[in-house]
Amino acid sequence: MRRTHGHTLLELLVVVAILMVLAAIAMPSSSDTPDRKLDTTQLAMQDALDRAQSLATTTAAVFGVRFDIDDDWFCVIDENGVPVDDPLSHKPYLVKLALPGEPPNVYIDSVDFNGHVVAVFNEKGVMQYGGQVHLRCSTTLRWLSIDTASGAFTEIPVSG
C-alpha cells in the first residue's frame, strides 16, 4: 500500500518543541564570548577593590589589591601583604583567572599604579594612586583605568 506523504499535526508539534528546547540550550552559550569573560573579570576586580576600600574605611588601616601578571591572579591584602579572608568563603580573597592545570581565560597583561602592582587604600579608604590594568581574552583587549576620586574602573580605548 502506498504511504501517504505529509505530516500530522502531532509530528510537527514535537519537532517545533524539540527545536525550541535546542534553541534555549544554545542561547546561553553565547555568553562565553571574550567580551563577557572580560566583563566578569572586571566585575570581580571591582569587587576586590570595593572590599579593600571597605576594610580600609571600617578598620582605619591600610589595605590594597595586588595583581600578579605572571600567574594571572589578584588578591585583597593588608598592609603587610597578607591576603585577607573573603567574607563569604572564609578563605583568602584570591581570585585566579585560570583553573589548575589550564591556561587562563583572561590574562592580565600589565598593571601600573604609579609604578606599583598594588592598588592601595589609605586608612580613610582613599585610593593612594590611580592606575591602569590591561586585560586580554583571546585576541580581545580591554584597558581599564581607575582614578583616586571615583575608585571605579572605567574602560579606555585600546590604542596601538
Binding site: T4, G6, T8, C75, E79, G81, H116, V117
Partner: protein
C-alpha cells in the same frame, strides 16, 4: 457487489488528508512566529537591560542634583537674585556608563519664577526621557550686604558663611524648637538637641578648613541628641548635614534620629531608632543601633573625600586632611610571598 467496510474507511482517510495538511501548515506557521517572537523579545530584553539600568541611574543622579539645585535657586531668589544671573544655565550634568548625556537645565521664566528641566538624552533614539520640575517663588530683595557675613580665614581662600550662622563655644541646649542655618561648634562646645528639627549644617572649624587643627580628646565638640531629632541639610551646604571630622555625634538609646545628608564626624553613635539618609564618614568609630534604617547604605562604604564642593552661594568647599601611605609600605605589600 458490495465493497468491504475497511476499503470505505481508507478511502475516507485519503480524502481527509489534504484538508488536514492546511491546518498543519497554519499551526506550524503560528507556532514558528510565536517562537521567533519569544526569542527576539528575550534577546532584546537581555541586550537592553543593562543599558536601561545605567540610563536610569544617570537620569536619577541629575534629577536629584537638580532638586537640590532647586532649593538653592529658591534661596538665591529669596535674597534677591536677578534673573539671568547664576540661576540660568545647565549646571547639572552627567554622562552615564553607556554614554548617554543627562542634563539639568534651569531657565528663568520671569522675575519671580524659575523653571527646571531635567532631560536625559540617550544615544539611541528610543531611550530619551525627560522629567520636568517647576519652581516658583516671590523674589524678596536682600537687604544684607555681603561684607556683613561671617568670614573664616583659610589658606585656600577665606570662606564666607552664607545664611544664618550660630557659633557655639560652650554648652548650649535647644529643646522643642525648629532651627535653621549653620551651627559652628568651637572647641569644648556641647550642643544638646532634644525634640528639634534642624534644617542646615553643623560644622567645626577643622571641617571648614584643614588649616584649623582638629580638636582632640575631651576638647572635641560634642552633639548629643535626645528625644526626636530631624537633621536636614539646608541650602547653604546642600546635602551636608554634619561636617566635623573632629566632632562626636551621639544619640541616646531612646532617641529617634532622622538625618538627611552627608555626615562626617570623629565618632558617630546612634543607638536609638530612626534613619540616616546619606553617606557617613567617621574617623574613629561608628555605631548604629539595629533599629536605625540606612536606606541606600547597601551601596557600599564611601571613601573619605578630600574636598566637598558644596556649590552653595558662598561656601565653596570644605577640605579634609589627606594621609599618604609611605612607598616603603607599598613595596612591602607587593613583595610579600603569597601562595597562589
Amino acid at each position: 457487489m458490495t465493497s468491504h467496510p475497511e476499503t470505505h474507511r481508507r478511502a475516507a482517510t485519503r480524502a481527509a488528508r489534504p484538508a488536514e495538511a492546511g491546518w498543519v501548515l497554519a499551526a506550524a506557521l503560528i507556532l514558528a512566529t510565536m517562537a521567533t517572537a519569544v526569542t527576539v523579545t528575550y534577546a532584546r530584553h537581555a541586550l537592553l537591560a543593562k543599558h536601561s539600568l545605567q540610563f536610569g541611574k544617570g537620569a536619577s543622579e541629575v534629577d536629584e542634583a537638580s532638586r537640590s539645585e532647586l532649593e538653592r535657586v529658591r534661596e538665591l531668589m529669596r535674597i534677591g537674585d536677578k534673573p539671568g544671573t547664576l540661576a540660568t544655565g545647565t549646571h547639572d550634568s552627567a554622562v552615564t556608563a553607556t554614554g548617554e548625556a543627562v542634563v539639568g537645565e534651569r531657565e528663568v521664566v520671569s522675575h519671580g519664577k524659575r523653571e527646571l528641566r531635567v532631560q536625559a538624552q540617550g544615544n539611541s533614539t528610543n531611550s530619551t526621557e525627560e522629567a520636568r520640575l517647576k519652581a516658583s517663588s516671590t523674589v524678596v530683595p536682600g537687604n544684607k550686604s555681603v561684607g556683613e557675613r561671617t568670614t573664616l580665614p583659610c589658606s585656600t581662600g577665606d570662606i564666607m558663611l552664607a545664611g544664618h550662622v550660630t557659633i557655639i563655644s560652650g554648652p548650649a541646649s535647644y529643646v522643642g524648637v525648629e532651627m535653621a542655618g549653620l551651627y559652628l561648634l568651637e572647641a569644648d562646645a556641647e550642643l544638646t538637641l532634644q525634640d528639634v528639627i534642624l534644617k542646615g549644617t553643623i560644622l567645626t572649624r577643622n571641617g571648614i578648613c584643614p588649616d584649623n587643627l582638629p580638636q582632640a580628646g575631651s576638647h572635641r565638640p560634642v552633639v548629643r541628641a535626645y528625644g526626636g531629632l530631624k537633621l536636614i541639610s539646608g541650602t547653604e551646604l546642600p546635602d551636608v548635614a554634619v561636617c566635623g571630622p573632629d566632632m562626636v555625634f551621639e544619640a541616646e538609646a531612646n532617641s529617634r534620629v532622622d538625618v538627611q545628608g552627608f555626615v562626617s564626624a570623629d565618632e558617630v553613635h546612634v543607638n536609638g531608632r530612626g534613619s540616616v539618609h546619606g553617606m557617613v564618614v567617621h574617623n574613629e568609630s561608628e555605631e548604629f543601633g539595629s533599629k536605625v534604617r540606612r536606606p541606600g547604605h547597601g551601596r557600599g562604604p564611601q571613601s573619605w573625600p578630600d574636598v566637598i564642593s558644596a556649590g552653595a552661594e558662598e561656601v565653596s568647599s570644605l577640605s579634609f586632611p589627606a594621609t599618604t601611605v609611605p612607598d616603603s609600605t607599598i613595596s612591602a605589600m607587593e613583595s610579600a610571598v603569597i601562595d597562589a
